[in-house]
Amino acid sequence: MSRIFIKGNVAISRGALDAGCRCYFGYPITPQNDIPEFMSKAMPEAGGEFVQAESEVAAANMLLGAGACGIRAMTSSSSPGMSLKQEAISYMAGSELPGVIVNMNRGGPGLGDIGPSQGDYFQSVKGGGHGDYRTLVLAPGTVQEAYDLTFLAFELAFAYRNPVLILGDAIIGQMQEPITPKEPVAVDAFEGGSWRLEGARDREPRILKSLYLTDGALAGHNLRLQEKYARARKECRYEEFMTDDAELIIVAYGSIGRIVKSTIRKLRKEGLKAGLVRPITLYPFPSEILKSLAGKGRKFLTIEHNMGQMVEDVRLSICGLAESGFYAQLPGNLPTPNDFEQPIIDALTER
């Protein structure tokens, strides 16, 4: 297919459309309004449904309903709206329902600002909702990846019957880049046929729920969920950039990962040996590669557009093998490659 030049938000919307998404539920919030706006046209045209929900709470619960029917469906929002979706996400995970949820992270806490930020890493990866559950979390670093990972998100959501999060930010959402779209997916009409709700014709009724009251039931349910999450470890994805000979490994994701790449290119020209591991799946987190690099004696620097969140996962991954420094790009400030030069040089040269 020929290249098209689109915004990250639109890439996600088109990705969803091409991946067979046929229901979209959302509530406006900057910086992701292009998504509901695109979907309000695209869904009806594709024979699907667009609902502007009364709130993010409602949107997430509509997603839950669509997921229960085995329909490819999506919702999107940004930070404050994501906080409101947490109860429903916990229910979806607990009821093992598929669905794709997009968060175009903006600055927080509270109303914060509408600029880019990665302040929702903990919420996305550790679970902002209650109880022991996990969502798979995909973090695109380019517009092409935003498109591609949206495809993947739908596949994973159905493969694991679990909500999948796409975690971008105002940069990924607002920037425009050329991308090459894929062939649209023809969704199997029987997808979810073994568990979805459609009326109990000639079979036992199906119950999709998260309540487990009888002795040991909830314990068993939690064990099964953990086993599923363990199975999902194989979906781990990351990008390695110039790590082969690197003395310092930068770990950074999403837009920051991509911007750091510019910095590294520049520093390489000056002979400084920095490399990058850019986690693409934040959950499952690419612990293995970090551990193996740590085993090779590399130093680490985590750079995030927040006050220090993913750095905990980095440290847990390389625990005992290396220390990991942290550089905070403050939420509220726009990141540029220059910002990271000094921190990287410092990390390379110290001690």
């Binding site: 290249r3 030049f5 900057t30 910086p31 509408i114 940069i171 607002q174 920037m175 425009q176 880049e177 050329p178 837009s255 991509r258 911007i259 750091v260 790449k261 510019s262 910095t263 290119r265 726009l334 990141p335 540029t336 490659p337 220059n338 910002d339």
Partner: protein, 181 residues
């Protein structure tokens, strides 16, 4: 060595800076280059100043955001005030001299092109095409993209509803390019 340029395009909300940023990006894409475009948007999606950044490169583009750009199109005074100091030494700056006092241009440090974009656009038919004049000037000044490609891409950024205005806009682009010869 490949081609690389990054630009901030800035002006009042209504001056169409986003449109020419987009147009430039399309032209770069059509020219087989990598390109990123990113707007800076305020909570006030209305009035105030607006700016966007376009990065063009024959390599992968790391950052779509640039602190010290290689070039600048300043459509009004506040834009020049804000961004001129950030432009790299020997960078290229196109200034809309219809609205900006050229005395303010940092001629010692930068390559300055003053273009009376509003007047030129007015002459062609509509002041609102001042943005095209400026982009034409910029295209010529930077020289990595053909003006014809930019003109060809007008159809991508101007909605079909206004397609009858494309020739005039192409004219404005050309006039701008002419102005920096």
């Amino acid at each position: 060595m490949g081609v690389y340029n990054d630009t901030i395009i800035a002006g009042f909300g209504g001056q169409g800076v986003m449109l020419i940023g987009n147009l430039l990006a399309y032209a770069a894409m059509e020219s087989g280059l990598n390109v990123t475009y990113i707007p800076v948007y305020g909570p006030e999606m209305r009035g105030g100043t607006a700016n966007c950044t376009v990065v063009i490169s024959s390599d992968d583009i790391g950052s779509p955001i640039i602190k010290n750009p290689m070039s600048l199109i300043a459509m009004n005074r506040p834009s020049l005030d804000k961004f001129q100091p950030m432009v790299q030494d020997q960078g290229t700056v196109v200034i809309n001299s219809s609205l900006v006092d050229m005395e303010l241009a940092d001629k010692d440090r930068l390559k300055i092109y003053g273009v009376p974009a509003n007047e030129i656009a007015d002459r062609i038919g509509n002041t609102r095409m001042a943005n095209m004049v400026a982009l034409g000037a910029y295209t010529r000044a930077i020289g990595i993209i053909d003006l014809e490609v930019v003109q060809k891409c007008l159809e991508k950024v101007i909605s079909s509803h206004y397609s009858h205005l494309i020739p005039k806009n192409a004219e404005a682009l050309a006039a701008g390019a002419e102005a920096v010869k």
